[in-house]
């Protein structure tokens, strides 16, 4: 193996036999190995500034919280939309679902029609009738009033019952 082969082995981290001995005897390959190690150390020391980390976390948290707020907003919007649909159904669809031939429901708050009613005085006759139903009616002869005129051929006969009403 020449030095070029050894360099490839060093760079590829191959654990081949004889490498350590070659590095001890060959200054060129030893310098190559030292250079690679120096490069590796220098690469590891390259870090982003501290402020950059804070900025990234802040941006990520802001995005997550904005997404959460949007999710909550959409959730409430969906609830509101569902409520609106339910209200529309109740107010428009439900009345049409009823039997159109059924009588209109009685509105409890409607005032009853005003009735002009005055109690009639109680007459004896009605009570007499009631009593007549209860007991057999007595046959009474109408009271007859005869009025004589100057003409002997004309006689006015006036039939009056016992209460004085005309028959």
């Amino acid at each position: 193996m020449n030095c070029s082969d050894w360099e490839r082995e060093i760079a590829g981290e191959a654990e081949c036999e004889g490498l350590e001995e070659h590095l001890q005897g060959c200054e060129h390959c030893a310098a190559f190995a030292r250079e690679l190690e120096a490069n590796r150390v220098a690469l590891r020391e390259l870090v982003a500034p501290a402020a950059a980390f804070d900025a990234v976390r802040r941006r990520v948290l802001q995005q997550i919280q904005a997404k959460k707020r949007r999710a909550v907003w959409w959730g409430w919007s969906a609830v509101a939309a569902a409520a609106c649909v339910a209200i529309l159904c109740v107010s428009f669809v439900a009345p049409r679902m009823r039997n159109p031939l059924a009588p209109e429901p009685f509105e409890a708050n409607m005032d009853p029609p005003a009735i002009q009613w005055t109690p009639k005085p109680i007459h004896h006759r009605s009570s007499g009738r009631l009593t007549a139903k209860a007991a057999p009616a007595q046959k009474t002869e109408p009271f007859v009033v005869k009025m004589l005129t100057n003409d002997p051929n004309v006689i006015i006969i006036w039939l009056v019952d016992q209460k004085g009403d005309s028959l």
Partner: protein, 192 residues
């Protein structure tokens, strides 16, 4: 340099946190992000080479995590899931974005702006140069070397995240390291 790999004891401590995050607790999810922010943002930064793009990619990755929390069984699963999603998001952004100018995290052109370039070739300058060099690598090689060398994952873990075989990943890492070294060598020959 901290090792961002998750250990078993961390997983135990984070289990309750994950459950609370799954239940929708924002504070718990914030803690989960804190646990993984370095992993996600640094990986995205190395893959995209631009802080603004990297922040966008990290944001998208965490939002996907939030959506998928209930499908992830435990914290260990989150770790590898996040790596996979970060790489995918960065690949998508790479395809979609208009090429933005590369922006170094600090300083300007390495070494050349300083009075004595030879003295300026420091550890930090090497890092800035490698930032540029990473952007010259093919997408798959860059992902492999970032996960292996920047995030310190094992070859097996990298293979699992990228959906490749270990042999393929080892080859990609080997190629990428060689190219990075050639890039820095060319730069030094030109400027020093």
């Amino acid at each position: 340099m901290a090792d961002f790999r998750l250990k078993a004891e961390d997983a135990g401590q984070s289990a309750g946190l994950l459950e609370r995050a799954k239940a929708g607790e924002i504070g718990a999810f914030d803690e989960v992000m804190r646990l993984h922010e370095k992993q996600v943002l640094n990986t995205a930064l190395r893959l995209l080479g631009n802080l603004q793009d990297a922040q966008d990619a990290a944001q998208e990755t965490f939002l996907r995590l939030y959506k998928s929390l209930n499908r992830l069984p435990d914290v260990l699963a989150i770790k590898s899931w996040l790596y996979r999603v970060t790489v995918n998001v960065c690949n998508d952004m790479h395809r979609q974005r208009r090429r933005r100018a590369w922006e170094p995290l600090s300083g300007s052109d390495p070494a050349s702006s300083l009075p004595d370039p030879e003295l300026a070739w420091t550890h930090q300058e090497r890092g800035h140069l490698l930032e540029v060099a990473l952007q010259t690598l093919p997408r798959k090689e860059r992902a492999a070397v970032v996960l292996r060398d920047v995030q310190g994952l094992s070859t097996r873990e990298v293979a699992g995240i990228l959906g490749s075989s270990e042999v393929t990943v080892r080859s990609q890492i080997c190629e990428a390291r060689g190219k990075l070294k050639k890039f820095t060598d060319r730069y030094l020959r030109k400027h020093l």
